[in-house]
């Protein structure tokens, strides 16, 4: 059944909310009354049904495996949702006097302590609102550190396999981006990196484990060389799930790393947010981290905002400033801390182990029928990378395999990323999938590969067949953008 839009079923006179009658007063709007809006209203029964039906057109972790490489779609514990809704967290205002929000500051401080200890780094900025925002935060701190030294370095080195956000962030911060090539084994070419490092290089942005799902064995050497050149190491923390509890990025020489609370620490993706991207800093970058900060003074939690930081020679006096209106994603902090406390130091270590075990199990259960470009370079970390060589001559492409997976009850894997591999398929099962689920997924993929090789190209090209929609015309959407509702649907044309 097709679900109409609210504009097609609502009515401007109908409402699903009852309100007290307002007291009679003379308006003080200064004559600036609102013009007609054109908003439809629904009664509660209609709204509940509409959004329930809409929800059922989504795929989600709760429905099946979500093997989306580099995005870590793991189970979202329901305890975390319950905790985030405690009125003591959900119903406090960011500008309340700090004495009235000591528990909230304690929570932020507790989570900060965990993040610093797990990464082995001395400082963390909690306020960034998402991973990309965290990257920005890290790069701004790096730029502020260079400025403080009076240096105007212009270049940021980024490996070929970097996340798309990395160059975007560097460019946004005013840097020129230069790529560093990869070795045939899928790692950063250390020699090439060393050769390029120099007085114009501000930072190296690296992802480790990298986007091929491999750990950079030269990571310490990379950091040492970078530091020797007067530059800083920014690490993309998107893949922290592979090593949390087993490796501390601080021990690898990282200067700044954002942590996607919605990846490693399981705050829900929610269909595209909200995320949270705290950034840990080395001692070298700590003084430049953004405001605000929570500071624990024995029995009391203080909130360091503009006045304290700039007023009195504080540790944060050289902060590069404020990135968001308030204190960051409190709701996500509660969920992440709930997740972290539930696992503990032992459980988080187990998370990394099971995530890596699951990925290697998928890799070794499929590498005979699919092609794993780095399959011979040893174990992968938390994700298994395949390319499309095994599809040569079948007419079936990576995207066709992905769309065919939808019909089998799975979300597609990450496709065509990383760019260093042709027709990449990046599979991250995560630690919250059972062996039985993986066995079923493996069998499904083997079956699809067999069908592709058997010449059933038409089946793949037309997939998905069983989803709420067949393939959608993205070109039409971009060529004639319809970005808000108009009574005449383009589908009716």
């Amino acid at each position: 059944l097709e679900e109409p839009l609210i504009f097609e079923i609502g009515d401007s006179e109908r409402t699903g909310v009852d309100l007290l009658a307002p007291p009679k007063v003379a308006s003080r709007l200064g004559g600036l009354e609102r013009e007609p809006i054109g908003l439809p209203g629904l009664s509660e029964p209609e709204a509940v049904r509409h959004y329930t039906r809409l929800s059922r057109q989504n795929f989600a972790i709760d429905m099946g495996l979500f093997p989306l490489g580099s995005c870590t779609m793991k189970h979202n514990p329901r305890l975390n949702e319950k905790m985030a809704r405690l009125p003591g967290f959900s119903d406090i205002h960011p500008l309340q006097p700090v004495d009235s929000v000591q528990g909230a500051l304690e929570l932020i401080d507790s989570l900060a302590h965990w993040l610093k200890t797990l990464t082995g780094m001395p400082e963390v900025a909690m306020s960034p609102k998402a991973g990309a925002h965290g990257e920005l935060c890290g790069m701004l701190a790096i730029r502020a550190a260079h400025e403080a030294r009076g240096e105007a370095r212009k270049v940021v080195l980024v490996p070929e396999s970097a996340h798309g956000t990395n160059p975007a962030t560097a460019a946004f911060c005013g840097y020129e981006v230069e790529n560093i090539p990869a070795t045939p084994a899928g790692r950063v070419d250390l020699a090439a990196l060393k050769a390029r490092l120099g007085a114009d290089v501000a930072a190296v942005m690296i992802t480790n484990p990298n986007t091929c799902g491999l750990f950079e064995p030269d990571m310490i050497a990379i950091s040492e060389a970078t530091h020797a050149a007067g530059a800083y190491v920014y690490c993309d923390g998107a893949n922290f799930n592979a090593i949390v509890g087993r490796v501390r990025p601080g021990d690898l020489g990282v200067d700044a790393m954002h942590i996607n609370l919605h990846k490693t620490f399981s705050t829900p993706h929610g269909g595209g947010g909200p995320g949270a991207g705290p950034v840990v800093f080395s001692a070298a970058l700590a003084p430049f981290a953004p405001l605000p900060f929570v500071r624990h003074t024995g029995t009391h939690f203080e909130l360091v905002e503009e006045e304290q930081a700039h007023g009195r020679g504080d540790a944060h006096a050289r902060s590069f400033g404020r990135m968001v209106a308030f204190h960051g994603q409190m709701g996500m902090f509660v969920r992440a801390l709930s997740y972290i406390m539930s696992h503990g130091a032992d459980g988080l270590r187990q998370v990394a182990e099971d995530a890596v075990l699951n990925a290697n199990y998928v890799l070794r259960s499929l590498d005979d029928v699919m092609t794993a470009p780095f399959g011979t370079s040893g174990p992968c970390m938390h994700e298994a990378l395949f390319d499309d060589h095994f599809l040569e001559g079948t007419g079936v492409t990576t995207i066709d395999i992905a769309k065919a997976l939808i019909d089998e009850g799975y979300h597609p894997m990450t496709m065509y990323f990383p760019l260093v591999v042709h027709g990449a398929m990046l599979i991250e099962p995560t630690e919250t999938e059972s062996k039985a689920t993986l066995d079923q997924f493996i069998a499904t993929l083997r079956h699809l590969v067999a069908r592709a090789k058997a010449g059933e190209v038409e089946h793949f090209k037309a997939a998905p067949h069983l989803a709420p929609r067949r393939r959608l015309d993205e070109t039409l959407a971009a060529r004639k953008p319809v970005l808000s509702w108009v009574p005449e649907s383009i589908a009716a044309e």
């Binding site: 504009f7 609102r34 429905m63 000591q102 981006v177 509890g245 308030f326």
Partner: protein, 456 residues
Amino acid sequence: MRYLPLTADDRAAMLGRIGAPSVDDLFRDVPAAARLSGPVEGLPLHMSEMEVERALSAMARKNLTATHVPFFLGCGAYKHHVPASVDHLIQRGEFLTSYTPYQPEIAQGTLQYLFEFQTQVARLTGMDVANASMYDGSTACVEAIFMARRVTRRAKALLSAGLHPHYVSVAKTLTHFTDDEVVASVPVLNEGAPGDDIAALIAAIDDETSCVVVQNPNLFGHVADLSELAARCHEKGALLIAVVTEAVAFGAVRSPGAMGADIVVGEGQSIGGGLSFGGPYLGLFACNHKHVRQMPGRLCGETVDAEGRRGFVLTLSTREQHIRREKATSNICTNSGLISLAFTIHMSLLGEKGLRDLAALNHARAVQVAERLAAIPGVDLLNGPFFNEFTLRLSVEARPAIRRMADAGVLGGVALGRLYPGEASLANGVVVAVTETQTDEDIDRLVAAYEEAVSC
């Protein structure tokens, strides 16, 4: 380890297929110096659900919560009543645990509500189109400044003194690194129009100006007509960016679009969202058709599927970082998905009638409270026109007074000293917000608290 399905038997069998002697072996690429031999030291081990619940509840109980005390804070974050069905629906696993809708065939639920959201926001702001949301109002605001630079190819932004000081801070932080120029000044508590500097802004616009950023209602609650400012901007080739931090105002105050704004940004937390100590919130971003390709953030558009059925996709993504890498319009790669869903559902429940009634109720109660407070000797109401928030000047310094009220269990407003710590001229000022949520008893207690505050 209640979230980990593998049993010891499973792990052994899997290592067997992999051909690895142990899990440790899978980590062999990690330099030996960085390999930890056991759990990270100095941290507790795993806890039962009940223990976690106890520990976090203990923290939560240490906070004074808005539902339990008379509560009158605003300044960019507002307490409104959200229908129970909103939270019920956003917790459905299909919404909560879904991903960014890059696979539209199995994400029509998310995409359709984003399309509804975009349309609602466009209509509320009086603009043609809106994006699928930004992190919050402050980041939406600075993105608007950058967008104005892309559109006008100029780099000087004039910020109204009535703009939320945190928004000013965020803009200053980021523009410092992008070499934009941001001009901002300290607000003045003009009688009748606190924080209003529209005439000064009009005078300051020059041929270098990319945009003027003005909040309406402004931080002090003042409501202004932006039409003349808009006209002057357009005359000079600059864009007018209007900022709205209280989305309920859209139900009562003439829309920025109707007053000529080119970009409208705002904080959508008031509808569907909670206070949540400042986040996650919801950045609103709207503009007109002609500028849509310079817009930051995700956009959802209508299209058709292979069978000709209406469907929705993320579109114009060539503007975005995951495609454009260093050429993207911004580095943003997340929106506030679930918060925008809450907004959409709450707004659908309200509808035009509900939103107008809600806004009318907010305004009327705010007028009542303002008049009662203004009657206290030692308390001056500075506002002429306002919506649901207004500024008082006390006979005493406001920040300690507000702290004392909180100690006594009344959250009486936001002292301007909290937001402008260095500014002696603002030290006696306090901003009070009134919504539909305060009871008559709450208001009586507020009035009594102010009476006491100015009497000592």
